[in-house]
């Protein structure tokens, strides 16, 4: 069963009072088409990546799934609940963590902030306290539990946003750049947490939006490339790379500093042939490097096309 199902979704932001402006012969902007006929499904327990340039439509798509914005046409359903007609129910099923720092109350401490949102989710004070304690331990926020939000470091603010998204243990998490402001160690732990959530029972489905392509490649089972409001490709990171170019560059360094570089098709036997040739001439191989196309190459290709 798919956790998120998006069908023929389009969103055009209307220009407010366009007809009134036209009536008074005032210039009016054109409506902005943010999404155009987007369709895909995300399976339960899948970590699904969404990549694209700024303004490509990632945020609009996330906000439509989160019921904050209504689509112009098409539909989104989360665990078979429609995001427009059953918006309240959909909000019970999702948690959204963005990198927006202003989404908390700066004069309340971390615990008070989470307590407020837990009550809005309908958690009793007792279970809310218990859940907050668990999340603080899981996200290493114990030390800042009593510290005002305004006094937290950017990384801790970001972790608190993830904790808030996880408060009501939703089966679907929408994570927008969850490691952007974290130090390398904390970022690695966050990635570990994200993959463990998808593996747990019952599994959490994660829609990950990120500009960190290496992270997307490591975490995501499938990735969608979005450009100018349209989905250009959806596949596993590996297949996407292969779609761009099946070739990879191999650089062999042999003793004495000589370097041999050649291109080969992924998993063909050219590397074996070259190694045998070198061994036959008595050369000692010091290093072998392969240079594969990355998601960045894929992204660039779709942007240029």
């Amino acid at each position: 069963m798919s956790a998120i199902s998006i069908r023929n979704l389009s969103k055009t932001y209307p220009v407010p009072f366009r007809r009134v402006r036209a009536f008074f012969r005032r210039p009016a902007k054109e409506p902005v088409e943010a999404l155009c006929d987007v369709s895909f499904e995300v399976g339960t327990g899948e970590i699904f990546g969404l990549i694209g340039r700024n303004g490509a439509g990632k945020t609009t798509l996330t906000k439509i799934i989160a019921t904050l914005v209504q689509p112009t046409t098409g539909s989104v359903s989360v665990h078979e609940q429609d995001s427009v007609s059953h918006d309240e129910h959909v909000r019970r099923l999702i948690g959204l963590a963005t990198a927006e720092e202003r989404s908390f109350y700066w004069r309340l401490n971390s615990e008070q902030n989470l307590m407020f949102f837990a009550r809005l989710h309908g958690l009793s004070d007792r279970s809310a306290k218990q859940r907050i304690k668990e999340l603080f331990a899981q996200l290493e926020l114990d030390e800042v539990a009593r510290r005002r939000f305004g006094e937290l470091s950017t990384g801790n603010k970001q972790r608190l946003a993830v904790a808030r998204a996880m408060l009501a243990s939703p089966p679907v998490l929408l994570l927008d750049e969850p490691t952007r402001s974290l130090d390398p160690l904390a970022a690695a732990r966050m990635r570990e947490l994200i993959s463990s959530l998808a593996r747990q029972d019952p599994p959490v489905t994660i829609l990950l939006t990120s500009h960190n392509l290496a992270e997307v490649e490591t975490l995501c089972a499938r990735v969608a490339i979005i450009s100018r409001g349209s989905i250009r490709a959806i596949d596993t990171p590996r297949n996407l790379r292969d779609l761009t170019s099946g070739k990879e560059m191999v650089h062999i360094t042999i003793a004495g500093g000589e370097k041999i570089s050649f291109a080969r098709q992924h998993e063909d036997d050219l590397l074996d042939v070259k190694i045998r040739e070198l061994q036959a001439r008595g050369a000692r191989i010091v290093d072998i490097e392969t240079e594969r196309p990355t998601l960045l190459d894929v992204l660039e290709r779709y942007e240029q096309s």
């Binding site: 969103k11 932001y13 209307p14 407010p16 609009t60 906000k63 989160a66 019921t67 904050l68 914005v69 209504q70 112009t72 309240e88 129910h89 909000r91 019970r92 999702i94 948690g95 959204l96 927006e100 202003r102 989404s103 908390f104 109350y105 004069r107 309340l108 008070q112 307590m115 407020f116 949102f117 009550r119 809005l120 989710h121 309908g122 009793s124 808030r164």
Partner: protein, 276 residues
Amino acid sequence: MNSLKLLPRRIFAFVARDFRLFMSYRMQFFLRILSVLTVVTTLFFISKIFAGFTDPQFSQWRDPLGAWLTGLAVLNYFMTGFSSLANAIRQEQMQGTLESVLLTPINLPTIIVSSSAWDFLETTFFSFLYLFFGRVFFGVQFRGSFFLAVIFLLLTTVVLACLGILSASFAMVFKRGDPFGMFLGAGSALFSGVFFPTQLLKTYAGPKLGSISLLLPPTYGLQGIRQVLIEGHGLAQVTQPLFTLLGFLVVLLPFSLWVFARAVRRAKREGSLIQY
């Protein structure tokens, strides 16, 4: 658990949040108490100028201090009634927290009503303080049924909350320049008889300007409350302002809810709910 059962918990969540935010500015709290005391004391001395004033036409103003204090206490309440709903949205929009609140499984009307709950509690406290200081320090006598006065207060507040819903709808669509707030804010103090009898408006400003007070719900709320608290009237003698307020409610409640539903739909379509 259904939304209705969770409503008290959600209202409590907003009240607890706002109380904590309020207490994070403790000095402001004490300064406001001091400011109420200063206003009451000043009005006491001004009222002494009118000592012995016995014009039977202005029976509610024989004790001007009592009339001013009820006027101010009630005006406070009325202002909260029509401004807090719109302010609730504006404040969350400005702080940037509206989006995260909207992501929780509650509907917009619940958010608006719950976010203004603290405003009403705070106003109740400060409105009561006007009457309390007047009674304790300056011997102002309040007669009549407090229960009936509270009914008037609640009824007028609900009528003004309908205008508040219109104001919130306006804030949602246009973001700024709320005409209801401007009209009622300035209008109530001048035309509703908070500081002087409304009859004087007709005498000095002419019948047209004087009749503006008849269009404002606070005029009837204040009239009723003063008739009860100052003149000691019972239910049978205050039916005119009571039924007028009910008339306002019957017209304004469905209209404001209809406008609000349209404003929410429009804001969601435009994606402008979280913009300010």
